[in-house]
Amino acid sequence: MPESHIKTAFRARSRMTRRGALGLFVLPFTGLACSALEAKPLRIVCLDDGLTETLLMLGVRPVAIADREVWEKWVVEPPLPAEVADVGTLLEPNLEFLQQLRPDIILAIPYLDGIKPLLERVAPVTTIGIYTEDGQPYRRAIEATRQLARLVGKEAEGEALIAATDASLLGIRQELAPLSARPVYVVNFMDPRNVRVYGKKSLFQDVFDRIGLSNAWTGETNYWGFSTVGIDGLATSSDARLAYLEPLPEGAGGTLTESPVWNAMPFVRNRSIMRLPAVLMFGALPSASRFARVLAKAMTGEAARG
């Protein structure tokens, strides 16, 4: 069993309800046990990282995914088993390669509708949309989890994952209650001057709502739930904190601290900046709980430092 899962469970247990902790702890093992029992597991090619992380948490290993090499950099958790193959880029998965993998099913997202007819010639395609014009990615991620669980015959594990995620968010809500007065910006740096700030329709917004934090960014967002703005666009709220996600683009880290605008930003002057490890911004339930966890750790760490 990967060490990080166990660590995760231990870390989580201190904060969340017992049922939730138990769920998280037991989950990967049950999944493993079941797939071992099945005579012929479904050969799944998964073209979305959010769906892939959900599958992995259900204890199912996809045969192949797209853009495999960026997993370590952008998703991190759960770790990707070495056996998972790479089918090429998300927008142009290699069809000859796919054909030779002989998958039973291909999981895709609405973003890939353009290549769906091609994929359907290889295997049946199931499209699951978590990010749409209507927003609410958390609710949709729950539905996606149920759909995937039904697909691989792991309904119980699916419900357990949903419950564990809910419970973990609830635990973090209680833990962060004393710190929840100040709003928080969540951003990715595009370059030293511009950020993607996450707001309405983003997974992070839904997590904020559930852990009782308020998002400092209330402006418009696109259907992926972000808006690209200059960092000075983040100066509107005077008591906000800033949480920025890794990875940083080449060259952004060094130049930030030298800029007077950056140094005059309220959150820089209050020293309310948190650097978070990478979390998949377009993810599903596992990314939601990972985000809540890393944010809570950063916030409590900051509070402890004073």
């Binding site: 142009e92 290699n94 390669f97 054909q99 001057r193 690209t228 703005v229 200059g230 080449e250």
Partner: protein, 681 residues
Amino acid sequence: MAEDAATLAEHGKLAGRTWKRGMFANQPVSAILLCMVLSTAAMAATVSNLTVQLPSALWLRSLIAPDIDDMRQVLVHYAFLPRLVVSLLCGAALGLAGTVLQQVLRNPLASPETIGVSAGAYLALALASLLAPSLLAFGREWVALAGAFIALAAVFALSWHKGLSPLSVVLAGLVVSLYAGAIGAALIVLRHEWLASLFIWGAGSLGQQDWKTTLWLLPRAGAAALTIGLMVRPLTLLGLDDEGARSLGVPLGVYRFAGLVAAVALTAFVVAAVGVIGFVGLAAATLARIGGARRLSQRLIMAPLIGASLLWAADQAVQVATGPQGDLLPTGAITALLGAPLLLWLLPRLALGWEVPALTAERLPRTGQPGLVLAAIGVSLLLLLGLALLCGPGPHGWTVGFGDQLQPLLSWRWPRVSAALVAGAMLALAGLMMQRLTGNPMASPEVMGISAGAALGMMVALFSFSDAGRLVQTAAATVGAFAALLVTLAIGRRAAYAPERLLLAGVALTALFDALILVLTATGDPRAMLLLNWLTGSTYGVDANAALLTGGIAIVLLLLAPLFMRWLDVLPLGPSAVQALGIDVRKTRLLVLLMVAALTAASTLIVGPLTFIGLMAPHLARRLGLARALPQAAGAVLAGALIMVCADWIGRTAIFPRQIPAGLVATLIGGPVLMWLLRRR
């Protein structure tokens, strides 16, 4: 030079039309007036932008000693003001660079953008920041300078044999810009996670966070401007013809080189500071001329002033549109959007002289047995087809497919291979027709903007319909190609479809298209990636239906081709010779152009607008000794197909399971081949 005199005369006429000659006869009145109008508009926009950010009572304070507890004052002092100064500095620098380049090259169309210098500097910086960030530690200006000079050297190498004539320099500049753009696209396809950041900067965002860029740019641009200021007299003499200048005892070469270095350095500094600011250099230098600044000393003052007020006004207008500090509508791309129509408007008003038809002047080998050469290319094509269809890597290494195994693989491979084949063939034919029509070896549908028109149409479809299927995209691209053709034709009509105008209209259309792409991608819209995939010429999405459709169109068009061959044999001889043979020049040109548009639209849909096949294949055929129109056309079609199939195969297999778009591979391989071909004389 006669053409210079003609240009000046025409400008004088333009200026005279608007202003009665009187007490201001020797002053560039229109230029000064234009400058004042632009500055007034810019000033009004600036005041309005500033009012939104800060009450006017605090303006002076935030300028001199901002209160760092007040974020509004910090933003005005460290973001708004430096951005304003940078816009003035960059505009002035580009205007000056444009004027010097026009003077040194004796070319009314020369500018940092049109001779490829901006693109070269930008590519060098992009390459350095992605592949070797340590290089930037030596100073961004050196990287940018190196890129700019490499681009300039390539442009000179490509146009040297035509005595650096205005048109050949601008066309070579376009080819170099296109090639730099293709390499940039390859970078982004391979490293797409940082797509947005590369584009924000590359599109010329003027956003600032401190005074660093301003203080960096000021001494560098100042030094270059001072150098130019010290050379006003010798530079003026460069405007005379060589004989006249030499008889005055001016070492022409030295000053020409020094002027060139100063102008290129100015451009490289601007690109290193803020990215590519499209078309300000050309617009400022040209508007100064048209505005009545006839003496070089006047132009050297008026062009920077116009450039500065132009960029200032554009940047403030962008901020009015996006709110203060808006970075997402990059000012550089917006100026290019405005600049391209300006260039189109200018074209009919510039006198460029008549180009000597090039193909007839060439002394290239002629083969006695064209059939043998054609057979050789044909056999190579067949061999390559076998390779492309049967061989490829799989999950367990390379395999040569046969029997049952091959069947499913073949169903994926044949549509792509056949699409690449016919696209290459059609582009080659279109290129051949363009080159014979215009008598210009640099002509091709890519250069003429027809490909760009098709791409524009496709782009509009992608962004205006939420679910644009292949059919909608096809229709939109065709409409776009014909629209581009109509624009080109409308501009060309005045000169009975004279080749030069058509080509330059293409330059402008391509620039417009590049600017649109930059604006769209800089917004970080996920559809931009879809678009980029297609633009780089991926055959990925081609299924059996699309392949059959394209194949059908190609067969019809290729069967029509022999009807054109007699015209294509005589067209390079020049319009008077054609007329003497009793052929209606206008009608012939129109028919050839329509054929070219159809060929280009059908092939651009498959391999994107960036390949050089149309430019390259006819040259290959000619170098192999195929001189008459029909054998050259057949050779070009076969060679185009060969290159494209080869590019598609390399693209599918080189970094398996990832894929490099076929159009991009063709460009990356074809660009240097083409440059080498054009150089070897």
